[in-house]
């Protein structure tokens, strides 16, 4: 009898195997791997563009003249429809799990990102690990069509560039979908997105020629940070202000800053190796007050003025100058965000929420207003210049006067 029973188990297995076949199977060569997607608003419709890898162009025996990626685009009132409509143009199913970049044009961002982004959260294929950016002054579709020289796959180029620049050049914000999701669900913080644009001749930039000589005709660039209120883009931060944003959000890993030499002509450049900001909310006279404790460690990277770096006094003066210039940047950044845009992208509201949950309940409703008008931001700095690099003095000796 045991034999029968076991054969029963085998029967079950065999039946499940043979009978219904493979429902959800997707062979690799049936997939169009989408690496980047763009959303443009055209009238009342969304124009969704996707950048799909052409796998034969990726293989070793690639045929030289084919572009490594293809761009499909389609218009529909909703994202999902547009994506599905694309199947009429491509033999492969768009596979979204490997999405690296999602780019929206400014119009879409200004109309509200919640709606077009909903699909990317809901769909089971999309993973919450791609970056989102706003195409500044360009169409998202153009961004996808650009031929990039450094990497064969433009989307990977963008992805890596964003990662690297966030690590070593502060004025960009690599916002991935998880962070965006978080900032959108929390009350006391508003989202930001990095801006992306193309410099140069777009018409040539779309052709393979763009990657065929050392200097490209057109290239992308991450420029500044877009500031949102709720889910609508309301403005842009310039380079300095973006840097301020990153300092305050404690997202500076490393950056460089140009500082005027104290008492001399010329500038010197510091390389920030460590930056740490603590946000300390407090209530003074019933008004919100926040203290930002900024701790910075930096090295001198470049000196354009004639100073004697062996002199501790000079060095201290430089340190002070560096600190002052940082303070100016931060204050300008905060001022712009607070007074001009009046949207709390720094999450100061969240900080109050964490520390004073009761008070927050009262403030929650009118926080945007309070942020703009009542909030006092105080900054305290602890700026340390440490090292000089391989050489000590400026190469040019001070000529005898």
């Amino acid at each position: 009898m045991k034999l029968y029973r076991h054969s029963f188990v085998i029967l079950v297995l065999v039946m499940t195997l043979i009978l219904p076949g493979c429902w959800n199977r997707k062979e690799l060569n049936e997939l169009g791997v989408v690496l980047a997607a763009g959303i443009d608003t055209v009238g009342n419709q969304y124009e969704v563009s996707v950048q799909v890898v052409d796998p034969s162009a990726m293989s070793k025996q690639r045929i030289g003249d084919r572009s490594p990626v293809l761009v499909f685009s389609e218009r529909a009132p909703t994202i999902f429809e547009a994506l599905r409509k694309m199947t009429t143009k491509s033999s492969r199913k768009m596979y979204l799990s490997h999405l690296r970049m999602l780019i929206m044009d400014e119009a879409t961002a200004r109309r509200g990102i919640q709606e077009p982004l909903g699909f990317w959260f809901r769909d089971h294929e999309v993973r919450p690990d791609f970056y989102i950016a706003v195409a500044k002054g360009r169409r998202a579709k153009d961004m996808l069509e650009l031929v990039t020289p450094t990497e064969a796959l433009p989307a990977m180029d963008l992805y890596k560039s964003l990662e690297v620049s966030e690590k070593s050049w502060a004025p960009t914000a690599a916002v991935n979908v998880r962070e965006l999701f978080q900032t959108m669900t929390l009350d006391g913080v508003n989202p930001v997105l990095s801006g992306l644009t193309i410099k140069g001749d777009m018409e040539v930039g779309k052709q393979l020629e763009n990657a065929k000589q050392p200097l490209s005709f057109a290239e992308y660039q991450f420029v500044g940070i877009g500031v949102f209120r709720e889910d609508r883009l309301i403005g842009w931060l310039g380079e300095e202000e973006s840097k301020a944003y990153n300092y305050i959000m404690n997202r500076v890993f490393s950056t460089v800053g140009r500082v005027k030499c104290p008492g001399k002509e010329g500038d010197f450049v510091v390389e920030v190796t460590q930056a740490n900001t603590k946000m300390n909310p407090m209530i003074k006279n019933g008004q919100p007050h926040v203290v930002l404790n900024v701790f910075v460690e930096a090295n001198i990277g470049e000196v354009h003025c004639k100073v004697d770096l062996r002199d501790a006094q000079v060095f201290n003066a430089m340190q002070q100058a560096a600190q002052d210039s940082l303070a100016i940047i931060l204050e300008a950044g905060v001022h712009k965000v607070q007074k001009e845009y009046g949207t709390d992208v720094y999450g100061i509201g969240e900080a109050f929420h964490r520390k004073y949950p009761k008070q927050w309940k009262e403030w929650k409703k009118s926080w945007d207003d309070m942020f703009q008008n009542d909030l006092k931001v105080e900054m305290r700095f602890d700026y340390n210049l440490r090292k000089l690099g391989k050489i000590i003095g400026p190469l040019q000796k001070e000529s005898g006067e």
Partner: protein, 364 residues
């Protein structure tokens, strides 16, 4: 000395995995929806409440004297009354839960892993596996769980450890934002599901050598699973913040999707799924075993195994009927605790009260 079928170790692991069961994937969302960032506090509260409830179960267990639980119920409520109560109990609680778990599994797989696969195929495969392990009897289940628990533990630790670097303690704050009330309310959900199901362990008490062993096992497994729930809820809130947790269907799955360590240690959320299949497997095995064992006992069948296939079939066909769509399911999650109170608290309470009344009566 009674015949020992389950060792303490086996029983502890089995019960733990049973309790983790489907809750591991679903419960963070439920708790966080109610208690926001304080949800992790609901876990110890529920655990404490559960330990109190266990005292009641222990009282009953003390009275078993080598009887199985269903024999005990019959001896208290009489042949017909007890039998009827038990049949209702079994069909409406362990068996219904059995079908719900199957359904949960199907919903998860078709929802986030393989949307085009028919749920029936998923049910069939899992039920075949569960049938096979339960058919081997408690002994086989015990051995299997002993082996697989380490796989489970390994995966669990791997996941938790890999999540810790991405945690942001700010998301845990502020504590007690809305006072203790939501925490208690949230803890009810956890207390009811899965901890009321500990009443089913009474059916297994007769498989242990001593009742004392059974008690330690139940407490230990509660602590173990409670600790894991705590860790999961805590880590999940810490990584993706309460707003997101409450808004995604399977937070512990979602959270792993966001992980990328060093650019290569990423995209391993399938581990969560595997983890979950393992717990579901043992959860189903316990529910099926208890259902068929108790039913066979009530109807005085020679072999409880003869009910396995019919029960699996019934479960297979009831599963699609449990809820027509996800919204009904969401809604039912809120009512479910109050339904299970009937079985997790009222039923044992009645048994205990009548039992002690009769016991005292007999002594006088």
């Amino acid at each position: 000395m009674r015949k020992m079928i389950l060792t303490t170790r086996q029983a502890t692991f089995w019960f733990t995995l049973h309790q983790l069961g489907s809750a591991l994937l679903v419960i963070p969302s439920t708790l966080v929806f109610i208690a926001k960032q304080d949800a992790w506090l609901a876990v110890p509260v529920a655990l404490a409440a559960h330990l109190l409830l266990l005292l009641l179960y222990f009282r009953i267990a003390n009275r078993l004297n080598g009887q199985t639980f269903h024999e005990h119920v019959v001896s208290i409520l009489g042949k017909w009354g007890g039998g009827l109560c038990l049949v209702v109990f079994v069909m409406a609680y362990p068996f219904l839960t059995f079908t719900l778990v199957i359904r949960d599994l199907g919903d998860f797989l078709t929802g986030v892993m393989m949307p085009e696969t028919p749920s029936e195929a998923i049910y069939l495969l899992m039920l075949a596996a569960v049938w096979y392990v339960v058919h081997g009897g408690v002994r086989t289940i015990g051995r299997t769980v002993e082996l697989l628990f380490f796989a489970f533990l390994f995966l669990f630790v791997l996941l938790t450890v890999s999540l810790i670097p991405s945690m942001n303690m700010d998301y845990i704050l502020p504590l007690f934002e809305n006072g203790p009330k939501p925490i208690f309310l949230a803890s009810i959900s956890l207390f009811a599901f899965p901890y009321f199901e500990s009443v089913l362990f009474l059916f297994l008490a007769s498989h242990m050598q001593y009742i004392q062993q059974w008690k330690t096992v139940v407490v230990r497994s509660a602590l173990l699973s409670g600790g894991m729930f705590f860790l999961v809820v805590f880590v999940v809130i810490g990584v993706i913040s309460q707003g997101v947790v409450a808004d995604v269907a399977y937070p512990s799955f979602f959270v792993v999707r966001t992980i990328s360590i060093g650019g290569f240690f990423e995209r391993f959320e399938v581990i969560v799924a595997v983890l979950w299949y393992i717990t579901i497997f043992f959860r189903l095995s316990l529910l099926l075993y208890v259902s068929s064992y108790a039913l066979a006992g009530i109807f005085r069948l020679k072999d409880w195994r003869s009910l396995l296939i019919p029960l699996c079939t019934l479960g297979f066909f009831i599963a699609p009927l449990t809820w027509p769509n996800t919204s009904v399911q969401m809604q039912s999650i809120r009512a479910w605790p109050y339904y299970t109170v009937l079985f997790g608290v009222l039923f044992p309470m009645v048994i205990w009260l009548i039992g002690s009344f009769r016991g005292n009566h007999g002594k006088k």
